[in-house]
C-alpha cells in the first residue's frame, strides 16, 4: 500500500528513462537530500561529523569506484588503496604546485591523474582474469605505496613523509580544507561532491558504456563476439573506477584526516572497500552507500559497545575481539544475503507493495 506504482503511467520516453521512475522513490530521495543538506548539519555534533559522516561520504566514493570496476565490469581489484593514495598525493602536488587553483579542480585533476595510473595497471586485465588479475592488482597496491614512500618529490621533501592538506577555500572565503575549516563546511562540500559523483555513476551505468561493462562482466568472449571491444571497455572501467578512487583518496587526505602518509592507504583499505562493495551489493550504486555506511558504523559501534555495556576489558583484548566479531559478521552477512544489502532493500520494497494486505 505504502509503496505502490499502480496508476503511474509513463507517457513519454523521458519519463520511461528516469532514474527514479516511481513517485515514492522521488519523494524518498528528496527527503534524504533535505535531511542530508539541511537537517543533519544543524544537529550533527563535531564528533559525529568527523567520525561517521565524513568517512562515510569518503568511503562511498571509493565504494562506487570499485563497484564500477568489480560490480559492473567484473574485474576483481585489490589495488583500491594504491589508487586512493595516488589521488591523495596527486591532490597534494597539484594544490602546492598551483596554489591559485580552485580546490574543486584540484580534486577533479587528482581524479584524472589517478585514472591514467589506473589504466596503466589495468593493462594486464586484457591478458589475465579472475583471481590472477586480483593478485596482479596487488602489484599496484604495493608498488604505488612504495613509490610515495621512497620518492621525496611526492611529499615536497618533507622529512616525515607525511603530507598535510594546505588550507583552501571555495566561494571566496569558506574554508573547506586545512585545520581552520569548520567541520560543517567540510561535510557540505563533500556531500555535494558525492551527490554529483553518484549521479554521474548511476547515469554511466545506464548508458552504452555501462551496458558494455556488464556484457564483459557476464561473459567476455560472448561480448567480444557481439562487437564490444574488450580493450576500450575494460580500460575505460579501470579509468573511471580509478577516477572515483582518486577523488576518494584526495577527499580522505584533504577533508577527512587533513594530513596523511602512504601507510594510511595500506592493503587493509583495499579489503575494506571490497567488503563495502560486496556487503552493499555488487553492481548497485545504492548498495555502495549501504556498504560504506555499514563498514564505517561497525567499528564505531564495536569500539563503543564495551563501554556502553559496562564491561571492563583490556584495550588490546578489545582490538582482538573487534577483529573476531568483524570477521564473524562478514561471514554471517555473506551467508544470510550474498547479494548484499541492496538486495535486502529490494526485498523490503517488494514487501511494502503488499503490506498490510498479504495478497
Amino acid at each position: 500500500m505504502l509503496y505502490r506504482e499502480a496508476g503511474q503511467f509513463k507517457t513519454s520516453y523521458a519519463a520511461d528513462q528516469q532514474i527514479f521512475p516511481i513517485l515514492q522513490d522521488r519523494i524518498g530521495i528528496g527527503l534524504i537530500a533535505v535531511l542530508a543538506l539541511g537537517v543533519l548539519p544543524l544537529f550533527a555534533t563535531e564528533y559525529m561529523t568527523t567520525t561517521i559522516l565524513i568517512p562515510f561520504l569518503v568511503m562511498s566514493i571509493a565504494a562506487i569506484g570499485l563497484n564500477i570496476l568489480t560490480g559492473y565490469a567484473g574485474q576483481l581489484s585489490l589495488g583500491t588503496g594504491g589508487f586512493m593514495a595516488t589521488g591523495a598525493f596527486a591532490a597534494y602536488k597539484l594544490s602546492t604546485m598551483f596554489p591559485d587553483l580552485n580546490i574543486v579542480f584540484v580534486f577533479l585533476g587528482s581524479g584524472v591523474i589517478t585514472a591514467f595510473v589506473g589504466v596503466m595497471f589495468g593493462i594486464p586485465s586484457l591478458r589475465i582474469k579472475g583471481f590472477y588479475l586480483a593478485v596482479a592488482t596487488l602489484a599496484a597496491q604495493f608498488f604505488l605505496l612504495w613509490l610515495f614512500n621512497k620518492v621525496p618529490w611526492f611529499t615536497n621533501y618533507s622529512s616525515s613523509g607525511v603530507i598535510s592538506a594546505p588550507p583552501r577555500a571555495i566561494f571566496g572565503d569558506i574554508m573547506v580544507t586545512g585545520s581552520s575549516a569548520h567541520y560543517t563546511a567540510k561535510y557540505l562540500f563533500l556531500l555535494v561532491f558525492v551527490g554529483l559523483l553518484a549521479l554521474a555513476a548511476k547515469n554511466l551505468t545506464r548508458c552504452h558504456l555501462g551496458r558494455a561493462w556488464m556484457a564483459i562482466r557476464d561473459m567476455d568472449i560472448a561480448a567480444e563476439i557481439i562487437g564490444i571491444k574488450p580493450l576500450q571497455t575494460k580500460l575505460s572501467a579501470f579509468a573511471i573506477s580509478s577516477f572515483y578512487c582518486g577523488i576518494a583518496g584526495a577527499a580522505w587526505g584533504f577533508i577527512y584526516t587533513g594530513s596523511v602518509e602512504p601507510l594510511a592507504f595500506s592493503i587493509e583499505i583495499s579489503f575494506k572497500v571490497l567488503f563495502m562493495v560486496i556487503i552493499g551489493g555488487l553492481g548497485s550504486i545504492l548498495g555502495s552507500f549501504f556498504g560504506a555506511a555499514f563498514m564505517v558504523l561497525l567499528p564505531v559501534i564495536l569500539t563503543n559497545a564495551p563501554h556502553l555495556l559496562g564491561l571492563n576489558i583490556p584495550v588490546d583484548m578489545i582490538s582482538h575481539l573487534e577483529y573476531m566479531i568483524f570477521g564473524a559478521l562478514i561471514i554471517f552477512f555473506l551467508i544470510v544475503e550474498p547479494h548484499g544489502l541492496a538486495r535486502l532493500w529490494q526485498i523490503g520494497k517488494e514487501k511494502l507493495r503488499l503490506w498490510p494486505f498479504p495478497y
Partner: protein, 311 residues
Amino acid sequence: MDFLYNFFISPFVQIADAPLFFVEVLTGGLLSGVMYSLVALGFVLIFKASGVFNFAQGAMVLFAALFFAGFMDKGVPWWGSLILTIGVMVLLAMAIERIVLRPLVNQPHIILFMATIGVTYFLDGFGQTIWGSSVRVLDIGLPQTPLEIGGVLVNKFDIIAAVVAGSLVAALALFFQKTRIGRALRAVADDHQAALSVGIPLKTIWAIVWTVAGLVGLVAGVMWGSKLGVQFSLAMVALKALPVLILGGFTSVPGAIIGGLIIGAGEKIAEVYWADAIGGGIEDWFAYMLALMFLLFRPQGLFGDKIIERV
C-alpha cells in the same frame, strides 16, 4: 645517465667480479623461496579441491604457529604440542566446512573469497585473544649456523626448510596419487557434480582438504615461526605467497615449488644488485612485478591448467 649505469651495467659488473658471491646470493634466494612455497602449497591444495581462493591460509599459518608455540610455552613437550595443534587444526577445518562453506555452496567465487577474508579476520583475532599478541620465540632446536659447501656459505636452517618442503611435497604427491582419498580429492577437483554423482562425499572431502591445508599451514607456521618468531606479522607471509601462486598457477603443486624458487631467487638478486639503482625496500612489490611479467606471457601461470573458454 647515472641511473642507466646503475641499472644496466653496474649490477652485471658486480656479478662478473664476484661469481662466488652471486652463487651464494642465488642459493640464499632459492632456499628462502622454499619458505614461500610452503605457504603457497596450502593455497593450491584448497583451490584444487574446492575452487575456493583461500585467503585465510596466511591466518591459518599464524593460528597454527600461535597454538604450537603457546602449548610449548605451557610446558608441553614438542611432540605433545604437535599432536594438540594437529587436533586444533582438524577441528578448525571441520568448523570452517560446516559453518562457512556449506551454507555458501554454489555461490560465486568472489563471495567465497570474501568469506575466507572474514575467516582471516576471525582467526587473527581469535588466536591473539587466546594467546596474546606478544612475540613468542619458537625454538625447536633447529640450528641457525652457516655451513660452507664448496666455498659457498649456506644457512643450515634453510637447508632443513628445503628438506622439509621437499618431503612434504613428496608425501602430498603420494597421498594424491596412491590413496583412495587422494583419488576422490582429484575427482572433486575435476568436477564437483560428477564426483557427487559417483558417490564421493563432498562434505567429507572438503573437511579433509582443509585439514591437509591446515597441516601444511602448521608446518609452514613452525618453520616461519622459528625463523622470525611467532607474531602477528606472520599472517603477512600470505601476501608473499600470492605472487608465487600466480606465477606457478593456482592449480599446480609443482608450480608452487618452482614459483617459490623463482620468486625467492629473483627477489634476493634484485635486492642485492639493483637496490642501488631503484632504492631499497623493494621486496614488497618486486615479487608481484616479476609474477606479472610471467603472466603476460602465460596467463594461467607456468603450470596452471590451460584455460579453455566456450561461449
